[in-house]
Symmetry: C2
Subunit: 198 residues, 2 copies
Amino acid sequence: MTEAAVRRRLSPDQRREQILVAAERLFAERPYVDVSTTELAAAAGVARGLLNHYFGDKRALYLEVVRRAALLPALEDVPLPTGSLAERVDAAVHWFLGSITPERATYLTIGAAEGIGDDAEVRAILAGAHDLAAGRVLELVGGDPDDAAARACVRAFGELARGAIREWSRAGTLTREQAHLLLRESLLVIVQGVLPGL
Amino acid sequence: MTEAAVRRRLSPDQRREQILVAAERLFAERPYVDVSTTELAAAAGVARGLLNHYFGDKRALYLEVVRRAALLPALEDVPLPTGSLAERVDAAVHWFLGSITPERATYLTIGAAEGIGDDAEVRAILAGAHDLAAGRVLELVGGDPDDAAARACVRAFGELARGAIREWSRAGTLTREQAHLLLRESLLVIVQGVLPGL
DNA sequence: TCTGTTATTGGCAGCCTGCCAATAGTAGGG
DNA sequence: CCCTACTATTGGCAGGCTGCCAATAACAGA
């Protein structure tokens, strides 16, 4: 590849974004250790040292990528639905399923293929993002977002939701309708059969 | 520590086991990259080169540890319960919750705190173990283990189960009874409200 | 055009990993 | 009891990767 060897000077924000985009792609398709900083720099069309300049070290860059990927569904806002409980539950499920588009597929690889290893910082990032999404769902279905136990239940439901979405969107073992059915019925019974009994 | 510097010669099986035990501990409490082979060897009381001799490379050792940890609950067998559907569901949930003892806590860190990164081999290991557990649950509740869609639903339920167990056993945000209630009601509605509608 | 600012680069030093030849426990035969 | 063959085990070498830092060169403003 006869790359443009001319050194161009971008604004820090642009350069930062450029590096993050390249890093997100590489980190998503291969495990952390298999992606070298040399490779990251090449993919971003940048000298290796610049990664350290902008992010400190490789790990910090990685954490930034994880943060952005994890927050994807939680960021978009959705109008609070009205109607019966069944309708609000359906709307919540619809939102969650719809928030996973092909170009957001990176979200699905989160925590799905890594092994053991207790990384406190990564755990905090994921926990925060998942909790945010859980709070959103709890609002949508008309629950109390300040009820710690209820929130924990919905966080656990989030695991079910991500699992179902992976079965549908990656494995192809469920259709979207089947995933929707699974999540709707489960969330409904949680809201009206489990939360009151806590 | 004035370690026993005497070089002792063990049987390959013993040495292998000794290394695996040490590696499981280290890999469980810190991310892969932060655990050096030097450290692994020291923890096992062994020269660094011996790791390569027994496992090939660091990654292979790691995969072996993941494999053992992931298979923990799936390995123990449980008698098929009899009685009503509700009773069988309850028994299945009880088995899953009971399979997570403190000394098996490593199981809970699986896929819970690492970030993104699509590792095909790790994914295959985890998928196999989770599918095994799903098949077990499907048998316990009297479903058809050969129904691909049903199996996918129960695999997704497995995610909920691991999430609930983490909320209970690690975060402490749910009591065991609450986790049990959540899983029982969810599994019940899946078996009788979702699976028939596929 | 020139100059100051700072985005960007290239190379150095240290650590980690995989490999391999050398070493030394240990069992079994004499 | 000694000695030898087998092989478990070690230590060091070479290559690659990472973090750091001083040198360089775009670009804006005067």
